[in-house]
Each structure stands twice: as C-alpha cells, then as structure tokens.
Symmetry: C2
Subunit: 412 residues, 2 copies
C-alpha cells in the first residue's frame, strides 16, 4: 500500500482533544488506503518547559543529558496517539527514536540523521498495522545515547521518513494554514501562498520563518519529497495549505515572495585581530567546535595589519561563544583587544527566486529602510535573498514597510 | 570502591531545588569514597498525570503503550540529576532503562526484572565516573519495548541494582522519616520504628503501607540487601530512618508491630457457581490472565452443588475483572447466576513476627472492632498477620482503635 507521512506539531497535539482530532485526520487517510507514518511533536509548551529545567540546572549543559531530558515529551504524545488510534480500531503502535532505530551523528542537540532502517516498521505494516506513530525530534547516536535534531527537528524526522519509505507525500500539520508572505502576527496584510519553491522555503526557514525547520526543506529538496504545510484546525480539501515544490511547478510569482525576520539575534565584534591568512579559520573553527551557529560575517578594512571581525549568532549561543573565544585567547591561539556583544539586533530578509532575473531589489530595500530612518548594521546577500541586521526595536516597522513596498499583499 | 545505592522518590525530586538538595546528599556519600548508583522517580505528580492521560484516552489500554508513556517522567529527572551533579563537579551520567539495559519480562505495566548487566556502568566507574543516575521504574522487554515495574517500581529498581552491584546498602529517600506503626495521617499516635524485620515490612508493604513497594522488600530479603528508609528533608545521621533487616538483628519487639490499611479495595462475589474441583482454578486463572491481582478469597458453604465465591481486588481493576468474567461466561467456560461488586470496602491488617509465639491476637482484634460496632466482611490470616475487610467509612476508626489496643504508641 502507498505510504503517507503526516506530521503533527505541538499545538496539534496540545491536549487529548487535539490528539483525537489529529487521529480523525489520520483515519481519513487510512480509509483512503494509505499506510501512514505519523510523526508527533511534544505537547506544546512541554519542550520549552524541559529546556527551561535544563538551562536553570546547568547553563553550559552537557548536551547528552539535555537530549535525554528534552526528548521525553515526544515519547508521551507518540504513546497517546497510538492509544487514540487503537480506540478508533485502527491498528497502531508507537516507536521511540532508538526503537526504529533512527540513527544519527553524535552531535548532541544538533544531530543529523544518518540512516532510517525501514525493515522493522515495514514488517509491522505487513502484519496489518496501519499506522506507525514515531516520536519526532529524536534519534540514537553510535554510542547508544539519545540525540535530538535541534528545535523543530520533528519536521526533519517527517521528511526523512518520507524519503526513506518513498512516501507519496509528507503533510506537515501545524497551527497555521500555510506559508505566508510574512508573519501575520506582525503584518496584518500578510497573504497565504498556494505554492512556494523549495529554494525560497529554504531561505525563509533558515531566516527565521518558524513554519518549517530548515533542514527538513533541504532534505525534501534533495529527495524530491512533496511537502505540504497545512492547518490541523480546519477542514481539509486536497488543495489546502501551501505546497512546497520545484520552481518549475510554479507558474507566476512576484520578484520577492516573502519577508522573513529573526528576532533573537546577537552581533559580536572582535576588535583588533591580526589580519593574516588563516585568522578567520581559527576564529570560526573554534566557534564551530563550541557548537555556535555563526550566521552573517563581516570583516572590516584592515589598518596597520589589524582588523575587526563582526559576526551574528542566536542570542542563546552568546555565552557559549564568549567562553570559547576567551579560552582561545587564554591559550594563545588568538590575540584580540576586546570583544563587543550587541544583544539587541534583529535580522530582516527579503526572499524571491525572481531576484535572479531582476535587478534593483537590494537598492529598493535599502531605500525603504532609509526612508523609515532605520540604520543598517550588517548586510549579506545571496542569489535569491538580501538580509540586513538592524536594531531590534525597528523589526515590526521594517517588515511592514518592506511588505508594502514589494506589493506582497497582491498575488502575481 | 564500595558501591552505595540511593533512591529518591517523587517528592524528593519534585522540583529543581529538591533535586539540588538530593544531589548534595549524594555528594556527601561520594566524598566518603562510595561509587554511587542513584535511582530516581519522576517528579511527584508527573506519573499520575501521565496515567491520567492514558486512562482518559483508552480505559482498557494497550499496556505496551501505557509503559511507553508513563516511563517518560523518570527520564527527565535522571537527566536533570546528572546535570545537577555535573554542576557540582561530580562526574555523573544518566541511564534510561533500555540503556543499562535493565532486562525484564514482557508483562507490561507489571514487569519483573530478569537481569541487570553491570559491565556497562562498571566500565564508566572504572573511567572515573562517580555517580550513575538511573531512571527508575522502567526496563526493556525481550521484544525491545519499554516495560514498567508497577507503581512504586523505583524501589524495586533500587534494590535490584543494590543486589546486582553488591552494594553496601540501599538507602530509600522519601517524604517520611521512616516506617511507622501505622499511617500518621490517620492516627496521631503513630510511632517511628528504628528497625523492622523483612517479613513484617513485606506484609506491611503488600497490605498498603505506601513506604516501599512489596517486591522491593522481597528482593531485599532474598539477596540480603541492607535497606534503609529515610527522609530526604532532614539532616541525616548514620542512625536516621528505619533499617529493614533480618529479625535476628532486632532485640525486642511488640507482639504487633504495625497496623496497615488499604483504602481502595473492592469485593466481588460470584453467585451460584458449580462446587466442583477445578472451578477456583478456572476463575482465578482467568483473572490472572487478565492482569487482575486478586487478594483475599473466600468460598462459602456449598448448597445443592452450588457455592458463592468472594474475592477482593484493587478498585481500579474491577472493570478489567468484570470484562474477563463476562467473557468467560459468554464462552461457556464458567456458569454463575450473578456477579455482585462492592466498591466501598477497605482492608485493615495487624502485623507482627511476635504473633508466631503469642496466641489471642486475632480474638483481641475481632473484639476491638466489635466493640466499635464495625462489621467484619472477610477475614484472612497468615503466620504473622491478620487482615479483615470492613466498610470503608470505618477505616480511620478501626486503625485508631487497634493502634491503641495493641499499645503501638509505646516501644517494646
């Protein structure tokens, strides 16, 4: 029988009523003849609570113990979903990550999926089981310890299962009814997109649009997994939500498809480091080893053989970065005069595959921000996106102004 | 280095502050030179919450999914305890049941421990780890699914680890400062015992004294594990709490050591079953297969080849028992005219190894209850205990009257 993957996020399994509602959706697909693999998140708020416990207990925590703690919420919803389906007379059972086993790297709290053996679950489908409920977000390392895939990792679990089981489609049920031109909570004119290209979705996801984890989009693009984002709170037609697909499948689109933002950014500047080959590799190698995800990097003009190095990173990794750089300095690995941290910045990005063929987007973006009196601190660009760092207090203003300027409230 | 097992119950790890307090106690033992194995329960209330989810989702639940859900609370506290110890610079890591692996039978929700391999944890002790934090209550079945050991199962986990690692002692930290002559909440004259014999503790535990799980006491008795029950909320001396030990180690004791009660009992009577050999085996075999723990059994005098069969069981297993007996009747396996269930009974027991050598205890017990106007519904006796079923509304009255009558407020 064809396989369908359905993923339910935290708000879609927030309590027993919502789990029942999700189970009914699953029942509809089972009745159509699919063998269904369901990926569940933890009940909403649960993972945040567990992360809070860990951070309060140990600010620079052992990531192996972090993973052991924060993965537990998904185990609860997986079991409850299996029980709910059984009550509806649908043969179902739960799997935890280590039972599949979903094999990952040892990069705790940020592990990558290495392999998903299918024999175990397929054998159960062969025996008449109709739904395999899998705890999302978690796997097992080569050392036999529990790993997690990073926040939002259940999306990646879902796409990886869809690829491994050659699923017909991967439906991501969430609390929004699709992908929007920007976050409707801060811009009332935001508009739902019927389709969006993998590349655009990838940029939006990595830029802070919370609807899908970046790596899930990467995986879907690589393995050609048809990915649909839709609401678990509305009656569904086959055309509901937003389909993430190849750009060839999109007839018309605006030059800019969306405006993304990331609120929890920090900017760090290393003052007066030696301007010589290899210095960037030392700095960012050290940060990478410490598990810091550096995003934008700017190197200022050199004076007298010294230069300043600026980079951005998530605010919650600042402590980790400061510790790593202080140790590097103490060990003589790097010389710098000071380290300046700005915790109050945000990143705004405009994204669109149309930028490839149309020029002037960057110039227009900078003018819009300038007209609003917003100072740009750092700029980076790629083929289909332009990102800037600005003071966090201007975030809403910037998003609204750019949404208006690029006519995102109107379909192409 | 000598090994010490320390078990912390739900109230002792109810929040991060209490986990820190427990970690300090552990630190004291580490400083004395012990390698410590810590067994943790879930934060208090957590397991009840999860059991509630399961029962609301599916009243006659699949016990495999029940286990997958309710075992998750211990994973959280195990990780948090390891992190807390690490913050105190004590090398520690957590183990979930399947990681040890703690091998059990497949009797889900009531599994028995089959084996605890020690090589994995001992190897880490060899590498300098000082504390192994193990999630209590859970194990893994031969089929690779998560099992649990029954409510209070973390005590059994602790004693089993103490036996497997040949520990010097097994300290059970809880919210009371020892074993009492009866429950202080319903009898203000209850007195803490310094020592109690394994056999007495076993009877008290199986009779409803919540301080230790019955099987943990059985295990401790069989493997001669020195078991100490003490409070995690008080400063500890080496003589704190109650030591559960061989009766030879107890110099003097009262005839009766304690009065136990069990509030959530039900009484079921099968009316007019055939009075022939094998009938009891059919009835109680069927109930056992359904996972019902029958306690007291009484068979009335036979009339015209028919008899009534009465038994007691926990109230939460009544539905299960009714279903099993109805199915047995429907399949022609057993003929009876009616099944009467009384949900409002309680069991009161007096326990003491002194009963072996002193007669008249039963007569005195029945007179005390009779003087209070309490009707006895069912009686069972063993070498060191007498139990009766009475109306639940007389529970407190009966306990207080018996405690007075047997002078339990005074030491021997």
């Amino acid at each position: 029988m064809p396989v369908l993957v359905m993923k339910f996020g935290g708000t879609s399994v927030a309590n027993l009523d919502r789990i029942r509602r999700a189970a009914k959706r699953i029942g509809v697909e089972v009745a159509k003849g699919y063998d269904v693999i369901v990926i569940v998140s933890a009940m909403s708020g649960q993972t945040n609570k567990l992360v809070g416990y860990v951070e309060e207990t140990s600010p620079l925590f052992d990531a192996r113990e972090y993973d052991a703690v924060v993965s537990s919420g998904e185990n609860v919803t997986a079991g409850l979903m299996a029980l709910t389906l059984q009550e509806m007379d649908i043969p179902a059972r739960s799997w935890q990550g280590w039972q599949v086993p979903l094999l990952t790297t040892s990069a705790h709290s940020q592990a990558r999926i290495e392999e998903i053996p299918t024999d175990n679950i397929n054998a159960k489908f062969g025996e008449g089981m109709r739904v395999a409920v899998v705890a999302g977000f978690q796997g097992i390392s080569p050392e036999g310890r529990i790993t997690t895939l990073g926040r939002g990792g259940s999306d990646t679990t879902a796409v990886a299962f869809a690829a491994a089981f050659d699923a017909e489609r991967c439906d991501i049920y969430t609390d929004v009814d699709g992908v929007y031109t920007t976050d409707p909570r801060i811009c009332s004119k935001a508009r739902k997109l019927d389709r969006i290209a993998f590349e655009e979705m990838l940029e939006l996801a990595s830029l802070g649009a919370k609807v899908l984890q970046t790596r899930s989009v990467e995986l879907a693009m690589r393995y050609k997994v048809k990915l649909r984002v839709l609401s678990s709170f509305e009656e569904q037609s086959d055309e509901a939500g937003t389909l993430v697909c190849d750009e060839e499948e999109i007839m018309e689109s605006n030059v800019v498809s969306g405006v993304a933002y990331s609120r929890d950014e920090a900017k760090m500047t290393l003052l007066s480091v030696a301007d010589r080959p290899g210095i960037a590799s030392i700095i960012f190698g050290c940060l990478s080893d410490a598990g810091v995800n550096v995003d934008m990097i700017v190197q200022n003009i050199s004076e007298e053989g010294r230069t300043d190095m600026t980079f951005s990173l998530p605010t919650d990794q600042v402590k980790r970065a400061e510790k790593a750089l202080a140790e590097l300095k103490a060990s003589g690995g790097l010389n710098f005069s000071d380290l300046i941290t700005d915790m109050d910045v945000a990143k705004i990005s405009v994204v669109g595959i149309g930028m490839r063929s149309q020029s002037g987007v960057a110039a227009k973006m900078f003018k819009v921000l300038s007209d609003e009196g917003i100072n740009i601190k750092v700029i980076t660009t790629s083929e289909i996106k332009i990102s800037v760092l600005i003071d966090r207090k201007y975030l809403e203003l910037a998003v609204q102004a750019l949404h208006d300027a690029f006519d995102l409230d109107k379909a192409a």
